[in-house]
């Protein structure tokens, strides 16, 4: 089935009905394995047991950037390829991205207090992620403010592409500026610098959270397709009553 085939909402709804139960089941199993591995992971020689916060903080932080990346591709889909499902996908992704970014900020803050001695520091990494969170809220507000979905989609797509500039800033902020935040220890030249005892649970949790996003994203897209169907029928009903 190609992307063009999925442009048909009925076909898309049929696909999600088939795929979602399987995705939800695989996500649940992987999350359970990841949480067990995280609980069994040894304490870090410097951070002690607080290293366990990493297993939820890092997947949420990765997803905060990944979801914006996905939304940027979907924005291109709206503006360039005009795929009918592109703006449905972008609209459905924004609240999920906001939630993951919120969790990255709060779990990072709860990790920072015992390790850095502060919940918050206005350094480049933390500030740029806070800006990302505010941009997600801005996109969600924009979708609510403009009633016509196609006009809202174009405005949100442009804002998404402008906001994509922030993603490399977040990624490389720890290299470009002085910061309390540690540098990359998984995705870096020369391979991960992390011990296998921490790396394996972290990667399992990262895959589990990515699948969680995929599951919720497909479900939220399905809801958005239904919402637009409802809107069309309500407009038909209103025009029938007016006639």
């Amino acid at each position: 089935m190609s992307l063009i085939d999925l442009a048909n909402p009925t076909r898309f709804l049929a696909l999600t009905a088939r795929v979602l139960p399987w995705l939800a089941a695989i996500t649940t199993v992987l999350l359970a394995i990841g949480l067990y591995q995280a609980a069994m992971a040894p304490d870090d020689y410097q951070q002690g047991a607080t290293v366990k916060i990493m297993f939820i903080h890092v997947p949420n932080a990765w997803l905060s950037m990944f979801v914006w990346g996905i939304m940027s591709v979907e924005a291109l889909g709206t503006l360039v390829w005009r795929h009918p499902l592109a703006d449905v996908a972008a609209k459905a992704a924004a609240p999920l991205g906001a939630a993951f970014t919120f969790l990255a900020l709060v779990t990072g803050s709860l990790w920072g207090r015992p390790m850095w001695g502060t919940y918050w520091e206005w350094d480049a990494r933390l500030t740029s992620v806070l800006i990302l969170f505010l941009m997600y809220l801005g996109i969600m507000a924009l979708w609510r403010a403009v009633e016509d979905p196609s006009r809202a989609a174009r405005a949100a797509a442009i804002l998404t592409l402008v906001g994509a500039i922030n993603i490399p800033i977040i990624k490389f902020s720890v290299d470009w500026w002085n910061t309390l935040h540690q540098g990359a220890s998984v995705i870096r030249a020369g391979g991960p610098s992390m011990d296998r005892a921490f790396l394996v649970p972290l990667l399992i949790m990262a895959v589990a959270f990515s699948l969680l996003f995929l599951t919720l994203h497909l479900a939220a897209m399905r809801n958005e397709v239904l919402r637009r169907r409802v809107r069309t029928l309500q407009m038909m009903q209103a025009s029938r009553q007016a006639a």
């Binding site: 919120f102 709060v106 939220a220 409802v230 029938r240």
Partner: protein, 63 residues
């Protein structure tokens, strides 16, 4: 609670982090599920009142 005791002096930070993530993920799942039910219900009500999509209508009929 041997697991909690093994988390050391910063157990409250670790437990709060995991509880918060669990709560937000649960809230997302509930929100998506309730939204699905709401949209399906509105669609059912509309179709029951005779408003249907063109593709769902018999050929030759327009609403």
């Amino acid at each position: 609670m041997p697991l909690l005791a093994s988390l050391g002096p910063y157990a409250s930070f670790i437990v709060t982090s995991y509880l918060l993530v669990g709560l937000v993920v649960a809230a997302l799942i509930v929100w998506v599920g309730l939204d699905f039910r709401r949209q399906k219900q509105i669609l059912r009500d509309l179709e029951a009142s005779g408003v249907t999509r063109r593709s769902a209508q018999p050929p030759g009929k327009s609403s």
